[in-house]
């Protein structure tokens, strides 16, 4: 397939402009005038439409195929949510901030405020900021809040405790805020080693960051004890909500004792993500942290109207332009209203049921390092296939040929040759069964015809890429 620049034909246009019948402007300064034509491709409208339509058909998305990418919750994003967001797309993001703009944007402000209230209700927190633009941005915002809390109290804190089954962004976020990281290993049952945790916890512990369920797809039964122990040292407990899809409507992290949480609207709340699309990582906090929340905040007045509070006193300040990724929030708000309380509970029940169904049907064929009921995702190991020199990556590439997006491989790092499958709630049993059959076939091929797996994919526009060469010899260029 040719690049759009390679399809350019000199002189070809999308529209034929009539000859100008007014005098040319002469007042523009010469240095602002272009001396040569912009290097844009010259194409007709139909050329452009065909080019991008062809490109889109080479794209892989949950709209076309099953996408069981572990740790990423690639659920189907209802088209109705797109329509809902479209209703609010014409408002200029500066409008509410301009003098006299508040009365003209009451609907938008109400949406932002009510989304925060809904998320606070779902997570058991006292207030939510919707500013952070993605999960890791939410983590950093949360850690800044924790740092502000300790600073104001005069606490001498130095360390953040992170289990090795947490998301990799957790230690990165804590380090960005200036804390040193203490990593706690995983116990045989897949939860954090409690003895190692107790040994690491000290008066200098600023926070514990937990991904719950963790990256093994397991719910830590000790979360309450961990929160209580942390609080005896005035350490705060951070809940990475990337895996909230497993417990929504079942457990409220705030009720367990967590102090800060971020949620990923682009995972749990049905808004698109991937391919660089915008995300949203609202952060919820308990009362003790409300004074430090990012400004400006949206407040509801006694008369029911909404206003923007620019008070910046103890706040950590602004963390995003305007109010964050508004379009993503509009879709998430519509999703929450569409599902309702019962619907959100059903979502997590179905997500967990689907993951356990896949786990129980495939564990005969793949090693399952932590063999117990899982939450919304399950983690296999291709160690059995490794005996035939077949790696997790070979199975992943074979799945592409069969029309499936590969699961996450080689993550979490604590599982050798990890294959992490998250089916989500939006898939039918028929889809899961078809996927399971392909996974069983891959396990069979590993024994009988490993070369077939090692040569996959063969049905794609390009064959298997040399990932090492791509990483070591980067050639990034722009044509035109």
């Amino acid at each position: 397939m040719k690049l759009i620049y390679e399809q350019s034909v000199p002189g070809r246009h999308g529209v034929r402009l009539p000859a100008s019948d007014v005098p040319s402007a002469t007042s523009l300064p010469a240095e602002l005038c272009r001396s040569e034509a912009a290097g844009l491709p010259e194409m007709s409208e139909l050329d452009v439409v065909r080019h991008f339509t062809r490109l889109s058909r080479r794209n892989f998305s949950v709209d076309t195929n099953f996408y069981p990418l572990g740790s990423c919750t690639m659920k189907y994003n209802s088209k109705g949510l797109e329509n809902a967001a479209g209703l609010m797309a014409d408002v200029h993001p500066m409008l509410p901030l301009l003098p006299g703009g508040e009365p003209l944007t009451q609907g938008c402000l109400a949406m932002l405020h009510d989304l925060g209230s809904s998320l606070a209700e779902i997570t058991g927190m006292d207030e939510v900021t919707t500013q952070p633009l993605a999960g890791a941005h939410g983590e950093m915002t949360g850690m800044l809040l924790i740092a502000a809390y300790h600073r104001e109290k005069g606490n001498k804190k130095k360390y953040v405790i992170v289990p090795d089954s947490s998301h990799g962004t957790n230690p990165a976020s804590a380090a960005m805020v200036g804390y040193e990281i203490i990593t706690i290993p995983t116990a045989p049952y897949g939860d954090m080693d409690m003895d190692a945790f107790k040994a690491a916890l000290s008066d200098e512990t600023a926070a514990i960051m937990m991904t719950c369920p963790n990256t093994l797809g397991l719910f830590n039964p000790h979360v309450k004890e961990i929160c209580d122990l942390a609080h005896t040292k005035d350490a705060l407990v951070y809940y990475d909500g990337a895996n909230l899809n497993a417990i929504m409507g079942k457990v409220r992290p705030g009720d367990v004792g967590f102090d800060v949480i971020h949620v990923n609207l682009h995972k749990t709340f049905g808004t698109p993500h991937g391919s660089g699309g915008p995300g949203s990582g609202p952060v919820g906090v308990k009362k003790s942290l409300i004074p430090y929340l990012p400004s400006p905040r949206i407040l509801k007045k006694d008369d029911g109207s909404f206003t923007i509070d620019r008070e910046n006193g103890r706040s950590i300040g602004r963390t995003a332009n305007f109010f964050g990724n508004f379009g993503v929030m509009a879709k998430a708000y519509a999703y929450i209203l569409q599902q309702g309380r019962e619907g959100l509970i059903r979502v997590s029940e179905q997500a967990v049921l689907n993951a356990n169904y896949i786990m129980s049907r495939l564990k005969e064929y793949y090693d399952l390092p932590y063999d117990q009921l899982c939450m919304h995702e399950c983690v296999f190991s291709a160690s059995r296939q490794l005996q035939h020199d077949v790696h997790a990556i070979d199975i992943a590439k074979y799945l592409i040929d069969q029309g499936y997006h590969p699961p996450t491989v080689y993550f979490p790092l604590i599982v050798k040759e990890a294959i992490m499958i998250e089916p989500t709630e939006t898939e039918s049993k028929a889809t899961l069964d078809a996927f399971i059959e392909v996974m069983i076939e891959a396990a069979r091929l590993a024994e009988t015809n490993p070369e077939l797996l090692k040569n996959a994919p063969v049905t794609m526009p390009i064959s298997r890429l040399d990932e090492t060469k791509a990483a070591r010899e980067q050639k990034v260029c722009c044509i035109g």
């Binding site: 990799g168 080689y410 993550f411 790092l413 050798k416 990932e467 090492t468 990483a471 070591r472």
Partner: protein
């Protein structure tokens, strides 16, 4: 020259007050093709088992923990453009940095080659 290993799969070779640090052949094999090594700054002071460098492979990005406390005295600049040397020769020319040893007694927390080989069998 004495050679010791850590549980995190780093090795250290000791010659007088200088320690040379790298990752074990086992670690290099497990990581797969290494694509980038983030070397420390010369002069950086590290404590035992704290992060001294980072390594990226096609599979993962991992921290490299210093087997001993000390000050970084030199780095293997070859790795900046040829990280594959770690795969080819993890325990010789794929060394990462040298340290001026702060506390020779810390060696007690490391394993001999024979002990490390036994440890690998338990993983």
């Amino acid at each position: 020259m004495d050679m010791y290993f850590s549980k995190d799969h780093e090795w250290v070779k000791i010659s007088g007050t200088t320690a040379t640090v790298g990752i074990s052949e086992h670690a290099a094999h497990e990581l797969g093709d290494i694509t980038f090594v983030e070397l420390p700054a010369v002069g950086k002071v590290v404590k035992q088992f704290e992060t001294v460098a980072a390594i990226e492979s096609v599979k993962a990005a991992s921290d490299i923990y210093s087997p001993l406390s000390g000050r970084v005295t030199s780095i293997n600049e070859t790795l900046e453009n040829a990280p594959e040397v770690v795969n080819e020769s993890a325990e010789e020319s794929g060394w990462i940095c040298t340290l001026e040893i702060a506390d020779p007694a810390e060696v007690a927390k490391l394993m001999s080659k024979a002990d490390y080989d036994e440890y690998l069998k338990t993983l």
